[in-house]
Symmetry: C2
Subunit: 329 residues, 2 copies
């Protein structure tokens, strides 16, 4: 495309983005394309997510964490499918407010996460928009051929697990908007979970080896469990009382009168970027051991049964959630 | 990400986009990721361009042609590097004005170009934005290992060629904005060149086989020639009087008093999506034959010399263009 954001585009690429480029495959960000050698015996796994100011992030969110969140929501998709990430293409649609300090902050966030997750920039586009800022990334990873886990392989008798804790992203958004009242340190922890969720990249090989079905928890735990139930043509039962909570989410829950309603909110809030997975009952011990080796919290939250859709229980009683999540009802 | 554009996202994916999905690798657009098997002996070539309403396309441009232009500007990048396209990931940031008829029009444009260029949708994201609509695509293609042409291989003595005609995209934008006065059929031809440029996909294998350096003409012929000169550390001489023009561009040129200034405008307007390439002098005949076989216009516009940067001539006289193009000066 013609470089509309003329001087800005050149300097953004040369000064800010080039130091992030993959040493070989990105061709110095100077050649319009990235070139990846084939990796025999492996599949290439791709995902592409976009985030928009005022929709997926707040107008006053610091741009370094916006960049990190962009990478992380995409890394989360790869991790849930058992793929190991290596690089990404990036489109930046800079708004008027994105001057040099903001662009530098954004790039600092990219740099930080490139180091944490061992990924490199492969290419992309940088343009100015008269509207709100938005960004998209195409994240790429490898997995051994035909090993990629789908949502469609859960079988009756399988157990349902989730990594980490649930509800912090949803509570964190409220903390960031100051519509929540908790101790300052709880507020900080929740805001951090909202701004820089931790994709479970280190669990990808475990998912690949053991899961019959998996997804990342982005739409909400119940919604994503239902995606698995639908794709696998089975029923999934979820027990709300075992929902893994952070100390901050537990503090919030303790302040609520209706525990069941509060648990429902946490289980439908979304933005968790944990992995929900199903494994055969016989694999539970191995799975737990692998999680422990990684110091990763892992909770058994339900089971796969004959049938259709999801069934939610609280303290052994079937309940009908008022909503399922950011889903398509 | 949580599906903010709830019902819209679901229906957009299921009803509109799913019929466009790659039969195997897209996983029915139901699994967050695309999975590509490795193709031994081949490199994967990737490019990602974004287009924004009010910047890269006009607010009243029909959305079917916006979709086609999105794919074509990306296809053009692959063609210029000698890669054969097979699929793409797509991010749609729908604005308020993108209701169902607009989304259907957009998808009709995608469908049309998928058939023309034999490509399939692999995945992506669809979200709503409070700002102007924008779209980005990550286009992917194959090339035999290590065959991808860069901008950096031009050598003194090489000849410089360009496919098709130059200046129609730039004139077409003015035709679309009704700031140009020509016969209606000329106006139509130019608008078509602006809205649905024709990437030279069929020339990719020729570029791969013969070119020492190449680029697509998006920033403007002179700017893209200079990119090649800089990357190759050589000089490039361009003769303006041989600039290949469409009948419509010729009619416009005939209406101008200052021919040289008018040619400069055409050579710097950009948005052409032709291929500029350098080949050794000995390859000229083969190159011309390959272009003829494809009924593709091909024009020798200059030569590669020792030195640095570009030199522009008109009727044998060196001239200093008032600007080079949409570039980074």
């Amino acid at each position: 495309m013609p470089a509309i954001d003329v001087a800005g585009e050149f300097e953004t690429i040369q000064r800010l983005l080039k130091p992030l480029a993959h040493p070989e495959w990105a061709r110095g960000l100077a050649d319009d394309v990235a070139v990846l050698p084939s990796r025999p015996g492996h599949d290439l796994i791709l995902t592409k997510d976009a985030i928009i100011e005022g929709v997926h992030f707040l107008p006053d969110d610091p741009l370094d964490t916006v960049a990190q969140k962009l990478l992380r929501v995409n890394l989360s998709d790869l991790a849930a499918k058992g793929a190991e990430p290596f690089g990404y293409l990036l489109a930046c649609h800079w708004s008027e407010r994105c001057g040099w300090p903001e662009r530098e902050a954004f790039v600092a966030g990219l740099r930080r996460d490139q180091a944490i997750f061992d990924i490199a920039l492969l290419g992309g586009d940088t343009v100015k928009t008269p509207g709100p800022a938005s960004f998209s990334a195409t994240m790429m990873g490898w997995a051994p051929s035909s090993s990629t886990v789908s949502r469609g392989g859960a079988r009756p008798g399988d157990l349902v697990f989730v990594t980490g804790t649930i509800g912090d992203g949803w509570l964190g958004l409220q903390a960031a908007q100051a519509t929540l009242t908790l101790d300052p340190e709880r507020m900080d922890a929740l805001e951090t979970a909202y701004r820089t969720p931790m994709p479970r990249v280190e669990f990808a090989t475990v998912v690949r080896g053991l899961a019959t079905a998996s997804a990342d928890v982005s739409d909400g735990l119940l919604a994503d469990a239902r995606h698995i139930a639908e794709a696998s043509k089975v029923g999934v039962e979820i027990d709300l009382e075992v929902l893994p909570l952070s100390a901050a989410a537990q503090a919030w829950l303790d302040s609520r009168v209706d525990t069941q309603a509060a648990l429902e909110l946490l289980a439908t809030g979304g933005d968790d970027y944990e992995i929900i997975l199903t494994v055969p009952a016989g694999a539970e011990n191995v799975l737990r051991r692998e999680a422990e080796r990684r110091h990763l919290r892992l909770t058994r939250i339900g089971r796969v049964v004959e049938g259709k859709g999801i069934a939610v229980r609280h303290l052994g009683q079937a309940i009908t959630p008022t909503r399922i999540g950011w889903t398509h009802d």
